[in-house]
Symmetry: C3
Subunit: 344 residues, 3 copies
């Protein structure tokens, strides 16, 4: 059963303003095209504004001042954010604390917070610390001495290696590996000598790590991911990297060792970043780009090697016409030779 | 011990025609160059037709009408398919049903079909349904309410999240994650607000998922992979995608959110596909290509950004000669200036 | 507590020569800038040679003949290698043998060497063989008949499939999959018929496999990774590949089926290699390159499609100037037409 809420209650929850009947009650969200009268819908993209006239929904979440075609509306500055918050309100609920379930493997020296849940098959090593209300799913393995903050969710078969530290409200999707050994070897002439990777990984608060991501522990100190940064699936972060706050690292990105990424940086899917470089704040890098050197802040880049995004767009427009361009140049060469011979 | 079969029996199994001694018995397959008389070999690539004369094999699987150099042959329209079927016949056998083995973690409310096997360390959550003859290997984790069809194999440490649905005869390789949360956040000005991902993943029948793949659950509805589609290892499918029937998605491909892929599409290794686009039926996309927009059906594409494959081949042929082309243009410019000055 | 060693003892351990006070005792390593007198530091990069004058360290590890500013020094031919060896000496210790810990799932027919450790939640199948001093972490799954050599570390949630063979001193990072089914299907006109993958994977001695890597088993015979080769995280090795000795395969590389890689090959991050080709010894391939055909030994390559590295650098320098080049050509064309009209 979904909870039922009045439009007034929802507006209060969102910090919005009601236009119309604030006593109207709804019990869920639905898209504009496909909504019943007991649902609230939302207009996030102005392109669809005309659909407000025809929606079957009881109420509409929208930006202030929009045409509401006589509908009851909740006006909020950011309707997309409001939609996300109502999704949370209607469709999610906190995980009930179940304690340590039978079949979990728990070291005697592990320290558990209050209201935790540890599912069957999870393995918690010596001296691990687990924060309050944190949920650890089946098959997750927490090595000795790792520290996990309050209100985290560690999904199935994720691995957190020894001594790594996870902040509050972090979510680790299934199969992600935090603290694998960095890829460091010293050539000894013939072969490779393994450099011990004695550092750790630190995830600050509100960091989320996608499924099957790999975050390598530092060689000596800390691989750091700062507050609020989100990683999509299958991302690789090499040893000693520092990733800033509120970054979006999209699926299959790889960042080589010791690179520093600023705050609010977006790396689109499959981007590769070389090692020992810096990317400034608010940079956006387009999908599949390869970044061989540092990038200045507050700009967009694309391509391999990466260049300013607009420059890349213009260059790529020429690529399919290269054969034609080459042909033109060859023809011009002949015409010039002809002119030259006539002027001899 | 491999089973022994007569050429007649094999021909009947494959729907082929015997040329030569149909009573001849063989007990396995071997390559043309390295086969004993108790083995059958196969000629799939006409390039190697002459090797039939010299093979030590007792019999040869080949296309109708080929020169068989006096050998006993089974003629089938598709010898490579016949080879695959004989491999199955000689070298594989159904998994014997072992039941729920000690050390498996099974919720009391799980519903198990007949003749299943659940290995030690597998974790089956509340209200999970497992079909007949399905095998779930050690460390696989099936979250609450997931449904797995008949004759599936879920390999070790694979994860199937809550409420996802797996069809019949699906194979999930080790470490694959089905139903991780989609990568969806609403910017709130300063930071990112997590959009609950309340949808699911549906795999239809005969879908195979490679090792350590990630298939994100939909934000609201269904991430769908249709009948017969095969994913290689380390593939990323983002939330809300729909992948058609009988597609081949090669290793390390990434498909962004809400994109629709047609039937019989091949995406070669490391291809990246942007979000909210469509790829038509029977499209082939070359390795490492980046697909920024929709692609029309029945064609091949390559490059980043993707263009028709032949166009890309021609353009790439010019790329290594760009420095030379530039030099030529510079020289032409001088020659023209010279001509112009002479005509002043 | 870190061990305390005299400079003499360290020099003997490294095969180096003491300059200065060989009785001086240190108890760890520290960087040049930030070292106390009870630490030894190291100078690996000549760029920082002047820092030796100011370091607070008690002793310095450096190349023979360098200016030691009156410091006690240990001279070794390869200071970076020496640093790695001292890291090992001071900061690592052999895993103490803990035996089979409660909560491990061990088949009765498994054969275990001496001084092994098998953590809770690890699953060891029938007829598995585990070498002496090998450590198998929680959640690792070893299928029936696999063989693991002496002194290996199999990290949490790694999977080794049936009959695969792992040499001595191999390290498998968390979540890696060894022996998943190769991606092989025979088209039957309408759909795809699965080709049984009945081969195995063999890792020779001193091979290291990164987190969440996937190494597919061969269709018929062996996918082989030779002695000393190291794989970074999220690497894909398809069925039937042969990788030579002492290769460095960086994160997110994908190698397609049946390709052969020589010895001492480096493939940088996100490189893609097509199937059925050869790469010669000592080849280096730059990040994100796509290798469509065989590459001759002892050279560097970059780009998609890959070309000699220097050629690629020169070509890439032109790419951002393509729009300008095209404009120039258009202008030249007009100027030539003008000249031609004047000479008519």
């Amino acid at each position: 059963m979904l909870p039922t809420k009045t439009v007034k209650e929802l507006a209060d929850y969102l910090g919005g303003v009601v236009q119309g009947d604030e006593t109207l009650a709804v019990n869920g969200l639905a898209p504009l095209e496909n909504a019943a009268p007991d649902k609230i819908t939302f207009l996030a993209n102005p392109k669809y504004a005309a659909k407000v006239a025809e929606t079957g929904a009881g109420a509409v979440l929208m930006a202030p001042g929009g045409e509401r075609y006589g509908r009851t509306a909740i006006e909020v500055a950011n309707p997309y954010l409001g939609f996300a918050k109502l999704l949370t309100l209607f469709y999610t609920q906190p995980h009930p604390p179940l304690g340590v379930l039978p079949g979990a493997n728990l070291a005697a020296s592990a320290r558990l917070g209050e209201d935790i849940t540890i599912y069957p098959g999870a393995c918690i090593g010596n001296n691990v610390s687990v924060g309050n209300r944190t949920v650890i799913h089946s098959g997750a393995v927490i090595y000795e001495g790792a520290v996990i903050g309050d209100d985290c969710v560690i999904h199935a078969n994720a691995v957190i290696r020894e001594r790594c530290r996870i902040g509050k409200r972090c979510i680790i999707q299934p199969g992600a590996v935090i603290g694998s050994d960095g890829f460091g070897y010293a050539p000894d002439g013939a072969s490779y000598y393994r450099i011990p990777q004695i550092g750790i990984v630190v995830l600050e608060d509100d960091v989320e790590i996608g499924a099957n991501c790999c975050i390598d522990r530092a060689a000596l100190e800390v691989t750091l991911i700062r507050r609020g940064t989100k990683l999509d699936n299958l991302v690789q972060i090499a040893h000693n990297c520092q990733i800033g706050e509120d970054c979006m690292i999209v699926s299959q990105v790889g960042i080589s060792g010791s690179s520093k990424i600023g705050n609010h940086v977006t790396l689109a899917g499959q981007v590769g970043v070389a090692g020992h470089l810096s990317i400034g704040d608010n940079v956006m890098v387009g999908a599949q780009s390869g970044v061989p050197g540092s990038l200045a802040a507050n700009a967009g880049y694309s391509g391999t090697p990466a260049m300013p995004h607009k420059e890349w767009l213009r260059a790529m427009a020429v690529v399919p016409r290269l054969p034609e361009l080459k042909k033109t140049v060859n023809a011009l060469e002949k015409r010039i030779a002809e002119l030259e011979s006539r002027l001899k």
